[in-house]
């Protein structure tokens, strides 16, 4: 009996392969449980009473009333959520618009001092917000922006322009140069070329940029903690800690508040996974 040259696998190999696969699969499943279980515990604990959280940590809730969720909502989560929405959406629009403009200028126009301007803007990616923190406090106070949504909108925009410009610029550099040439020949102005031709072509990376910005702004903590102090200005990440400080003993309510604040971003991730991944790939891989 002759063995064909391609199937070099023996029965022994096959056994080890099957064993390896089973091992890998069970490992991946266990890991998935380790990831999901605490999150599930958080959401479920929001339905429990405090006594049940203490006495039966592993059990399912006895009833499915939304009392804790409603209470958390009324204890401030509503206003935190509103602040988060305002700050996130306003800074997303500002960041992506300014970054797209800048990326256009840096990739498709001839301007004096382009290498220097590119280095300055993209170099901002290396600078850490923590380092700017102390002078920024004084600056925000003298501008009268301390404890306003404007402080966060401005800072989120400023600190995200470098990265967002980097993403969009890389995409624009890959678009063929003939596009602009042809449009210019037809008498289109620079503005028209940007709005009518280049920007629509960049739609995928614009969507990715918006999503990555939302992920950042929705979860940002350092600036939000330093620059806001009143409850009606605080965003979710900071609001949660003040809720915790005030109602820390009412565990069920805190769990409910945590679940409410995590929910929108998790749903967004699952809905827009493709764009999330594109943004991440472009951001680090190119």
């Amino acid at each position: 009996m002759t063995v064909s040259p391609i199937s070099t696998q023996t029965d022994g190999d096959r056994f080890w392969n099957a064993l390896g696969k089973t091992f890998i699969l069970s490992f991946l499943v266990c890991l998935a449980i380790v990831v999901i279980y605490p999150l599930l515990w958080m959401a479920l604990s929001g339905f429990k009473t405090n006594a049940q959280i203490f006495n039966e940590p592993f059990a399912f809730p006895r009833s499915w009333g939304f009392d804790n969720y409603v209470a958390a909502w009324n204890q401030g989560v509503r206003s935190f959520l509103f602040s988060s929405l305002v700050v996130t959406s306003a800074s997303a629009v500002c960041t992506v618009l300014i970054s797209a403009w800048t990326a256009y200028g840096l990739s498709r126009s001839r301007m004096p001092g382009k290498p220097l301007i590119t280095a300055m803007i993209l170099g901002g990616m290396m600078l850490s917000p923590t380092v700017a923190l102390i002078p920024l406090v004084r600056m925000m106070q003298s501008l009268g922006l301390y404890n306003t949504h404007w402080a966060l909108i401005l800072l989120y925009t400023a600190f995200r322009i470098p990265f967002t410009t980097f993403l969009i610029r890389a995409y624009m550099l890959d678009l063929p140069a003939d596009l602009d040439e042809a449009a210019r020949m037809d008498g289109a102005s620079e503005g028209q070329i940007f709005w009518r031709i280049i920007l629509p072509l960049c739609a995928p990376i614009i969507v990715s940029s918006v999503i990555l910005h939302v992920l950042f702004a929705w979860n940002e903590y350092l600036f939000a903690m330093i620059f806001t102090s009143a409850q009606d200005v605080q965003t979710l990440p900071v609001g949660l800690t003040s809720l915790m400080a005030k109602h820390g003993t009412n565990y069920a309510q805190v769990f409910a508040a945590m679940t409410i604040s995590a929910m929108p971003i998790v749903l967004l991730f699952f809905a827009m996974q493709k764009y999330f991944i594109r943004g991440l790939t472009e951001g680090i891989g190119k």
């Binding site: 390896g20 890998i24 490992f27 991946l28 890991l31 998935a32 990831v35 999901i36 605490p38 999150l39 958080m42 203490f54 940590p57 300014i98 800048t102 256009y104 200028g105 840096l106 126009s109 001839r110 301007m111 301007i117 300055m120 803007i121 901002g124 290396m126 600078l127 850490s128 923590t130 380092v131 923190l133 102390i134 002078p135 600056m139 401005l154 400023a158 600190f159 322009i161 470098p162 020949m185 008498g187 992920l215 929705w218 979860n219 903590y221 330093i226 990440p237 949660l240 800690t241 565990y251 769990f255 604040s261 995590a262 971003i265 998790v266 991730f269 991944i277 991440l280 680090i284 891989g285």
Partner: protein
Amino acid sequence: MVPTDPHFPGAATSGGTSHEICRPALLRRALIRALSLRWVVLAVLVVGAFIYVPIIDNFRVSMTNRDIFTGEISQVGLENYQRLLDDPVVWRALLNNTLYAGLSIVFQVFGAFLLAAMIEGLKSRRIRNLCRAIYFVPSAISTTVTGLLFYFLYQPEVGLLDAGLTSIGLGALSRPWLALEDTAIFGIIAMSQWQGFGYSTLLFSIAIQKIPRELYDAAIMDGAGPVRRLFAITLPMSREMTGLMVIVTITGAFQVFNEIMVMTAGGPNNSSQVLGTWLYQQAFIQNEFGYGAAIAAVIFAVTMLTGALQVWYTSKRRVKL
């Protein structure tokens, strides 16, 4: 080169001989070029005013001290930097940041690489997508939420960790993890690994997907097993991503703040303090802005170093490609 198309803006208005249009055309072109600065002016202003100016100003602040009682500001030169060297908490914070970086490299770079290789080796596309998506979820959630979640998990009275340990007969190991000096920082780092590994796994998955299939086919023909293929093909082919991830992870580890503030605020007894939280404590609780700014300068130095490393690494890669 004179454009002949009548729609070209330069050609439509200019008349006469080529000598006459030469100088105005040059000026015009220079003007148009200068006008294209309008695309970047807003970004330059915003980034300059809110990133560059404060970071430079930080160095000025770091050489001042403010009297707590009179509020008077005095120039103290490098005194705050001298104080850094003598401050045991700064050294503890540096150690904690380094621990954070080291453990994150083990789990979120090398662990995530192995995990991504396992996932990409699966046959079913749906299971691959599902795995990557599930592991990524904690990265999408705010660190305040995950930090608070683990704060509860670690609690002896309600926490799942101690209840779980007790139920499998390891009750002796159970302890108030975040309240002990020896375990607090490790409890926080463990949370951070749980939250972040899915993100780097996703990036490694993307890198592994880009490896040409023919390499694997050829290796199989040569009789190389899965482990052999991992070390002979997958690992060397994703070396660039690995290097980049190491640098990014170190940068991130020196900027940690959120999880520490939420879980321990640097305690107990400053045992889980990192540079970021110690800066906050000094500048905003003790009102020592000058000293806080000096701590910020240390963070600046480390992140600049890793940033320069990253620029060098990526540009080196570009040249090679």
